[in-house]
């Protein structure tokens, strides 16, 4: 079926969450009024001197070491020249010949299989200004330099991914790593994570890579997946009909769901890199590398803290959830499906682990899916099923997956919240246990519990317990 094997490479640009910009002391806060976080350096005035922010190097080193890169010594900065109104100096300070890190790798998991994606290089650069295109002034664009000089980490992968699914898994792995390392907020809606992809196709069995097409303007995971899928389709069609593919840069059109050739600028790709004379080389010594390496394991700690501080989980729960990758991923995905963090954590650290232990299973051997768990939590919250019923449903999800609402139907577990129906059962129980009623009147609170238990038994646990309580108290008084 698949005649062609795609090779996909990704460039990830991540804004680092330092307090100040990479070469000047301007703040980097999001959402500030236009041109309130600017100075002569990031406005590109002549004669100014950029000075490297030490924390940017720290953060970039964390990422480079976490991705098993070689640290290049010395690493140097270069000027990448091009003209655009978002670039006041007409060059961007970046790294090419001697990037901070290179030849690393990142492990990603696709359909339960682990795959190693090569990291070609990791380097530091500065972000460009933001352009606004006002509706009421169609002949002009406006430039806000607040973003100019915000530190960017660029992570360039080898073309090692062979499907859109692998590209997605890789992006997830990169984002997880950046969050785990605490070096970027990764908020895509604010442009803190941006992508460029390259896609080439080669006939199955052929070892040489095909003609490479680059795709720009990718601002979300969805855009990358869409663009990569579209390019694979487009290039297959072209190859099928014997067309020659051209090496080119294309733009992703989110609305049309298609890529199209970029109107070739006559100067495209001629960046004329040369060493930045205003910045000294960067010599990261063994001691510095050693210290960062030693700090990396502690970052699990940081992740645990995030769970307690942002999601309000207990230290205990957070510790368990971050201790196991599968559990951590299940938790994250369940929360992403919209389930309240606390409820998701309770199920996973409670019933889930209990069932694992009982069956002598590893977490990945179960059929529980984040979506199913999130739905189950929703049913409990709505009061559609009670706690014991929810446990039964969870057992089924654990065993064989599926849809919680269908399992509820199948097992007849829907909670009875109809007052009339419950009242009938309550009356029957009162008649059958006059002694318990009497004990209750003597002040024995235990007796009420007994009666509630009887009602629950008769309804096979489906009666809404709160309603049972209320009705019992109403009938026998003392409520």
């Amino acid at each position: 079926m698949a005649k062609y094997r795609p090779n996909i490479g990704l460039e990830v640009h991540a804004e680092l969450n330092t307090r100040t910009k990479v070469f000047c002391g301007c703040p980097t806060a999001v959402g500030a009024q236009p041109n309130t976080q600017v100075c002569p350096v990031c406005l590109g005035f002549p004669g100014v001197l950029p000075v490297l922010n030490r924390r940017v190097v720290e953060f970039a080193l964390r990422a480079a070491l976490a991705m098993n890169c070689e640290i290049v010594r010395p690493s140097i900065f270069e000027r990448k020249g091009y003209y655009y109104p978002d670039l006041p100096k007409n060059f961007q300070i970046s790294q090419k010949r001697a990037p901070l890190g290179r030849k690393g790798h990142l492990e990603v998991t696709v359909n339960g299989e682990t795959k190693r994606v090569g990291i070609y290089d990791v380097h530091i650069e500065e972000d460009a200004a933001k352009l606004l295109h006002p509706e009421d002034d169609r002949g002009h664009s406006l430039v806000d330099f607040n973003r100019s000089g915000v530190p960017l980490l660029e992570i360039v992968s080898d073309p090692d991914m062979n499907s859109a699914a692998e590209a997605e898994a890789y992006m997830n792995a990169v984002r997880d790593m950046l969050l785990y390392l605490g070096i970027s907020e990764c908020r895509m809606e604010q442009g803190q994570l941006r992508f460029e992809a390259s896609v080439s196709l080669r006939p199955e069995g052929e070892s040489e890579l095909g003609t490479r097409v680059e795709i720009k303007n990718l601002n979300s995971f969805r855009a990358v997946i869409g663009a990569v899928g579209y390019e694979i389709w487009r290039q297959s069609q072209a190859l099928d009909s014997g067309e020659e593919l051209v090496q080119e840069t294309r733009l992703w059109d989110d609305e049309r769901g298609a890529t199209e050739p970029m109107r070739t600028k006559e100067t495209a790709m001629d960046y004329r890199y040369f060493p930045e004379p205003d910045l000294t080389p960067l010599e990261v010594d063994d001691e510095w590398i050693g210290r960062i390496r030693a700090e990396l394991p502690e970052l699990a700690e940081a992740r645990r803290r995030r769970l307690t501080e942002q999601h309000g989980l207990s230290d205990y729960d957070a510790g368990i959830l971050t201790g196991d990758k599968v559990l951590a991923d299940l938790f994250k995905a369940t929360a992403a499906e919209g389930a309240p963090a606390k409820a998701a954590a309770n199920w996973l650290t409670g019933e889930f682990l209990r069932l694992l232990k009982e069956g002598g299973l590893a977490a990945e051997q179960t059929r529980l899916e984040p979506k199913g768990l999130a739905e189950l939590i929703g049913l409990v919250e709505k009061g559609a099923i009670n706690a014991p019923a929810a446990k039964q449903v969870f057992g089924k999800l654990f065993e064989r997956g599926g849809s919680p609402s269908e399992i509820v139907k199948e097992l007849g577990l829907a909670q009875i919240s109809d007052e009339g129906e419950i009242a009938g059962v309550v009356d029957g129980v009162i008649e059958e246990h006059p002694d318990a009623v009497e004990n209750f009147h003597k002040g024995k609170e235990q007796a009420l519990k007994f009666l509630v238990g009887q009602v629950m038994r008769k309804t096979r646990g489906r009666a809404n317990p709160q309603l049972v309580n209320e009705l019992l108290r109403k009938r026998i008084g003392g409520g």
């Binding site: 330092t18 307090r19 100040t20 000047c24 002391g25 301007c26 703040p27 009024q33 236009p34 041109n35 309130t36 976080q37 600017v38 100075c39 002569p40 406005l43 000075v51 490297l52 922010n53 030490r54 924390r55 940017v56 190097v57 010395p74 140097i76 020249g81 003209y83 655009y84 109104p85 001697a98 352009l131 606004l132 295109h133 006002p134 002034d137 169609r138 002949g139 002009h140 664009s141 406006l142 430039v143 806000d144 330099f145 006559e266 100067t267 001629d270 004329r272 060493p275 004379p277 910045l279 000294t280 080389p281 960067l282 010599e283």
Partner: protein, 95 residues
């Protein structure tokens, strides 16, 4: 290595310079004599000499990640040829 007038024209375009016919010829000659000079330098055996990336023998000049006071938009925009809504106003760059 010989630069052609077409290559000089290309470099001029990259630098956003408009050259007259006469300038193009003159710069082609001048640039070629500079390149010839470098060809001469290249005859020197530099194996074993690490490539120099900076003219000053210094490395690791850092600043700490401490915020400094930025300019006010008023100051920042003082020399802007055109402005609107506290932004620099430039010719439209998309359709």
């Amino acid at each position: 290595m010989r630069l052609t007038p077409e290559q000089v024209e290309h470099v001029a375009l990259l630098a956003r310079l408009r050259l007259s016919e006469e300038e193009r010829e003159r710069f082609t000659t001048q640039l070629n004599s500079i390149l010839e000079h470098f060809e001469q330098l290249q005859q020197l055996d530099t194996s074993g000499v690490p490539p120099m990336s900076h003219a000053v023998a210094m490395s690791n000049v850092f600043r700490e990640d401490d915020p400094a006071d930025p300019l006010t938009p008023e100051d920042a925009l003082q020399n802007a040829p055109d402005r609107a809504r506290d932004c620099f106003r430039v010719p439209r760059v998309i359709e």
